[in-house]
C-alpha cells in the first residue's frame, strides 16, 4: 500500500465522523437560527431577525459580560494554581500525586453537588463556622451560591481544572532534559531565576494549550452557571438553554441564534487568547 493511501485510509474514519457530527450540528441549527423551523410555525428563511433580536437585547449583552467575567478569572486561577501544583508533582508518583487527580475524574454535576453540600446556606461551611462560634444563624454567612458574586461557580470550575493543568505541566517536566536545570545551577542560578528562565519557558507551550482549552470550556459551560447561578445571573449558555427549553417553541430559532453567538464568541476568544499568549509570553511562540 502506498504511503498516500495509508494516510488517507488512516485518517478517513475520524475525519468522516467529525464531518458528519459537526456538519449535522451546523446545518440543521444554522438553518433554524436563520428562520427555517416549519415544525414550530416559523418559516421566514432566510432572515437575520433572530440574530438582530439577540444582539440588540441588553440582557444578552449583560449575559455576555457575565460569561467573560466568570470564565476569565476561573481560567487564570486554574492556570496559576495548576502550574504551582504541577511543579510540585514528583517524577515518581506518590499517593498525593494520585489523589490530586480525583476532581478531573468526576463529572461537573458531582462538583456542583459538592459545592451544595459545603457552600449552601446551612451547608458544612456554615456548620463549621457555627461550631467555632463565628456565626449563630445559617443566614449570617455571606451567600456563596446563587449570590451576585458567582463565587460558587468559580470554585467549582477551579477545583475541577487545577489537576488538568497540573498533569500537563508535570508531563512536560517529566519529558524535559534535566541537564538544563543542572547547567543553570552550575552557573549559579537562584531558584527564582530557574523558574523564570528555565522551567516556565519549558512548560509555557503546554500551559498555553491548557489555558485555551480551559477558557473555551469555561465560556461555554452550562451545568455550573445553570445550577449555581440562582436564575438571576445567566451566562450566554444558560440563556440559550432557557430559550430552547421555553414552552413557546417559536423561541427555538432565538435559542439557536444565541448558541451560534456563543460559539462565535468562544472561537474569537480562543484566537485572541492564543495571539496574546504568543505575543507576550516567554517561550509560547514555539510550536
Amino acid at each position: 500500500m502506498s504511503q498516500r493511501w495509508r494516510v488517507v485510509l488512516g485518517l478517513a474514519p475520524a475525519l468522516t465522523l467529525l464531518a458528519i457530527g459537526l456538519g449535522a450540528a451546523l446545518v440543521g441549527s444554522l438553518a433554524q437560527s436563520l428562520g427555517h423551523a416549519p415544525a414550530f410555525g416559523v418559516e421566514a428563511f432566510p432572515t437575520t431577525r433572530y440574530y438582530q433580536a439577540v444582539w440588540s437585547d441588553p440582557a444578552v449583552t449583560a449575559a455576555a459580560w457575565r460569561t467573560l467575567a466568570g470564565a476569565i478569572p476561573a481560567t487564570l486561577l486554574a492556570l496559576l494554581l495548576g502550574t504551582a501544583l504541577g511543579l510540585a508533582l514528583p517524577a515518581r508518583r506518590d499517593l498525593a500525586a494520585s489523589l490530586v487527580q480525583l476532581p478531573l475524574l468526576v463529572p461537573y454535576v458531582v462538583a456542583v453537588a459538592l459545592a451544595s453540600v459545603w457552600l449552601a446556606g446551612g451547608g458544612m461551611l456554615s456548620r463549621l463556622a457555627a461550631a467555632v462560634g463565628v456565626i449563630d444563624a445559617p443566614q449570617a454567612l455571606p451567600r456563596l451560591l446563587d449570590g451576585p458574586t458567582g463565587i460558587g461557580a468559580l470554585l467549582v470550575l477551579v477545583w475541577k481544572q487545577v489537576p488538568f493543568t497540573a498533569l500537563l505541566v508535570a508531563a512536560v517536566r517529566a519529558g524535559a532534559d534535566p541537564r538544563l536545570v543542572e547547567v543553570a545551577q552550575v552557573f549559579g542560578a537562584s531558584r527564582a531565576q530557574l523558574l523564570r528562565y528555565v522551567t516556565l519557558p519549558q512548560v509555557m507551550p503546554a500551559l498555553v494549550g491548557a489555558g485555551v482549552i480551559t477558557l473555551a470550556f469555561n465560556l461555554g459551560v452550562l451545568e455550573v452557571p445553570l445550577l449555581l447561578g440562582g436564575g438571576t445571573h445567566d451566562t450566554l449558555a444558560v440563556k440559550a438553554w432557557r430559550a430552547y427549553a421555553d414552552p413557546d417553541l417559536s423561541q427555538r430559532p432565538q435559542a439557536l441564534a444565541l448558541a451560534w453567538t456563543l460559539t462565535g464568541g468562544v472561537l474569537l476568544s480562543v484566537v485572541t487568547a492564543l495571539g496574546a499568549a504568543r505575543r507576550w509570553l516567554p517561550g509560547a511562540r514555539r510550536r
Binding site: Q3, R4, R6, V7, G10, L11, P13, A14, L15, L18, G21, L22, A24, A25, G28, S29, L85, A88, L89, R93, A96, S98, L99, V100, Q101, L102, L105, V106, P107, Y108, V109, A113, L114, S116, V117, W118, A120, R127, P138, L145, D146, W159, P163, A216, L219, G220, L222, E223, L226, L227, L228, A237, A240, Y244, L256, A259, L262, T263, L267, V270
Partner: protein, 275 residues
C-alpha cells in the same frame, strides 16, 4: 511551603469534600448547626414506610440502577467506537509525514473549542430530522465527538512510543503483518491504548448536556439523573448525595485502574529498546 506539603494540601482539597457527601447520603435528620446528623438512615429505615436514601436508589422507583447500566453501556460503546475511529488516525499522525497535516490536526481538535451546548443544540435539531433523537444510537454518536480530540492526542503519543525499527527487524526475520501486530504492537501499545480507552469511557460518563438534548430525556444516565435533581442552591438531600457518590464511582475506579496501567507502561518502556 515545601512541594510535598503543597501536594498534600491539594490531595486533601481534592478528596476531603467527599466526606461530607458520604455523611449527607447517610443522614436522616441533620439540622443546622449539627456537624453530624442527629439521626441516621440506618436507624430510620427500620420504621420508614417508604424506601429512604440508599434504599430508594436501589428501588425500581428511582430508576438509578438502569441509569447506571445505561451509563456503563454508553461509555463502553463510546470508548470502543472512539478507539476504532481514532487509533488509525493517531497511527498516521505519529508515523507519517504528509501535506495538510496541520489542517488535519486542527480539525481533530475542533470539538474542544465548540461549546458542548452549541454542539448539543445543533445535533438535537438534526437528530429529529433523521430519527435519531431520543435514541441510544443518536446519543452514542454525540458522545464520540467530544472524546475524539483526547483519544487522537493520547493515542498519537502512544504510537510515537512504538519503535518501528523493532517491527522492521521482526519482518526481516520473517514475521507477517499479523505476527507483528499480535506479538509486537499489541503487547507494547496495550497499556497506553487501554489508558486512552478508559479516559474516553470516563468522559462519556460525564456528558450531561449532549445526553439530555440528543437523548430528549429518554436516554437516562447517572449524570443526567443527578443534573435533574440538583439546583436551587439548597443543601443536598440524602438521595441526591447518594446519587452524586454513584456518579463519582467510575472516576474512583479509573484512578485505581489507571495507576496500575501506567505503572505497567513504565515497566514495559524499560523493557523496550530505545522506545
Amino acid at each position: 511551603m515545601s512541594a510535598r506539603a503543597w501536594r498534600w494540601s491539594w490531595a486533601l482539597i481534592a478528596t476531603l469534600p467527599f466526606a461530607a457527601l458520604v455523611v449527607a447520603s447517610l443522614a436522616f435528620g441533620w439540622h443546622w448547626p449539627e456537624l453530624l446528623p442527629s439521626s441516621w438512615w440506618l436507624e430510620a429505615r427500620r420504621t420508614a414506610r417508604l424506601p429512604l436514601g440508599w434504599d430508594y436508589l436501589a428501588s425500581p422507583a428511582s430508576r438509578a440502577v438502569p441509569a447506571l447500566l445505561t451509563t456503563a453501556a454508553l461509555a463502553a460503546a463510546t470508548a470502543l467506537v472512539g478507539l476504532v475511529v481514532a487509533w488509525p488516525a493517531a497511527r498516521v499522525l505519529a508515523h507519517e509525514r504528509f501535506r495538510g497535516r496541520g489542517a488535519v490536526e486542527v480539525a481533530l481538535l475542533t470539538p474542544l473549542v465548540v461549546p458542548e451546548l452549541a454542539l448539543a443544540l445543533g445535533l438535537a435539531v438534526s437528530a429529529v430530522q433523521v430519527g435519531l433523537a431520543g435514541t441510544w444510537w443518536g446519543v452514542l454518536l454525540a458522545h464520540v465527538l467530544p472524546t475524539l480530540p483526547y483519544l487522537v492526542r493520547t493515542l498519537t503519543a502512544v504510537e510515537q512510543g512504538f519503535d518501528r525499527d523493532v517491527a522492521d527487524a521482526a519482518r526481516v526475520h520473517g514475521a507477517g503483518t499479523w505476527a507483528v501486530f499480535w506479538y509486537l504492537r499489541l503487547p507494547l501499545l496495550a497499556p497506553g491504548v487501554a489508558a486512552a480507552a478508559l479516559f474516553a469511557f470516563l468522559l462519556s460518563s460525564h456528558l450531561v448536556v449532549l445526553t439530555v438534548l440528543v437523548g430528549q430525556g429518554r436516554v437516562e444516565t447517572t449524570a443526567v439523573q443527578l443534573f435533574a435533581r440538583l439546583g436551587g442552591g439548597a443543601a443536598l438531600d440524602p438521595i441526591t448525595a447518594a446519587l452524586a457518590l454513584v456518579a463519582t464511582l467510575p472516576g474512583v475506579l479509573l484512578l485505581v485502574l489507571l495507576d496500575g496501567v501506567l505503572r505497567r507502561r513504565v515497566d514495559l518502556r524499560g523493557a523496550a529498546p530505545r522506545a
